[in-house]
Subunit: 171 residues, 3 copies
């Protein structure tokens, strides 16, 4: 069962994902993709960490998401990836080769994934076209990725103000 | 009964709120949070004023929203606040002390509010992360506020192209 | 029957529109509004062209949309306009006179349009208020246009991650 949780900044995506993870009654493995390069980012990461249960295991995976899912996914655990937006940024900053191979490896793992998996990602394409070429590239790749994930996922939710709208639901 | 009307720029939020206010068959008190600092803002304010019925009472409340709601809210009136986005901007520009005290006072008033209240606010978190630190702060605080308001509100609506999507509805 | 397909960048709008066009079992006339001023735009246009069936007729209409709809619309064809966002940008760049006359002419044609028409447009008002005055103008006019079109259209859809949310449906 793959859940995709989309939403804007501070839309309650992470909280919704964490509620789903708790409701699964499985061991929760939290996969953090954030890397703290500056103080502001450090504060954002701490804010998220403090809101999570202390007994959840945390794995830091800025790049090699396919590898982490393959290694840690099993029937007794739910894996929560928060968030794909930062992972995708990390891939694009690492160069086209890394982006191509790691994003394809991730989609390949998902195609046959049997465990419980919750993916959180930011919707960023609903503002004006951004000025920078890298930002436009990011918006494009993020949108393409979301379309592919929405095809694979069993449930897709779009959060606004902490309220989930179901876009696709498992039968 | 508290209504929260969210939506993007020019998404028909204000018109939807005004339709709700008219349908209440109560005296409408319109609470304007905008302050005209330049010509462009002046034009935007005039545009909104001209679209409203002339017999509605207008109160200008750029900052002290809790005070206005406490003073004017009663069983015979519907209060329409348009919009929280500008009010929040005004608070953040007034400094952290004002922001903390006024936003908390507003939430405290809402927690026990008995009258008819319509709140309009812009959804701004669905584009790319903005460049300026103040803009990022605004997007964060706006998102946090919307999540808290959505918990308190009886009805939450998300407008796109003037069409409301019901995110939370009163029983 | 007029369909309005809204959504963010790379939200699957065009694909959804193309699926609708194919399902109509009519001759598809594709109305492209894009003009390639630089290499990046050229790549974006090619990307879209390659994803479309080769037997669709393509008309390039950066400005005179009303004229094209009047000339080509008939009972045997479905006209697919992709996208109104670029058309609106073209109008605004061409000056206020062109913008006023062409946007009004377009709405006039729609008011009595009898054929099958699919309109694709970007939702751009859900990010922070953009810095440039032209960008703010664009967001405003785009939002106003969407509201008017949503009134006229028989079906309005909002796409997120390739998944359509029905905002207004034909009886």
């Amino acid at each position: 069962m793959i859940h995709l949780i989309l939403g804007g900044a501070r839309s309650g995506k992470s909280r919704h994902a964490e509620t789903l993870a708790k409701a699964s009654n499985k061991k929760v493995i939290y996969i953090a993709t954030a890397q703290a390069f500056d103080d502001e980012m450090h504060v954002r990461i701490s804010h998220h960490q403090n809101s999570r249960p202390k007994h959840w295991q945390t794995l830091e995976t800025p790049i090699k998401l396919a590898e982490t899912l393959t290694k840690w996914g099993d029937d007794d655990s739910v894996l929560l990836v928060d968030c794909l937006t930062l992972w995708l940024s990390n891939l694009l900053l690492a160069g086209d080769d890394v982006f191509e191979s790691e994003s394809q490896a991730f989609l390949d793992v998902l195609a046959t994934y049997q465990g419980e998996l919750i993916l959180v990602s930011n919707e960023t394409g609903l503002g004006v076209v951004p000025m920078g070429e890298l930002s436009r590239r990011f918006v494009d790749e993020s949108g393409f990725l979301h379309q592919k994930l929405a095809q694979i996922a069993d449930e897709v939710v779009f959060c606004v103000a902490g309220l989930p709208m179901m876009l696709k639901s498992a039968k």
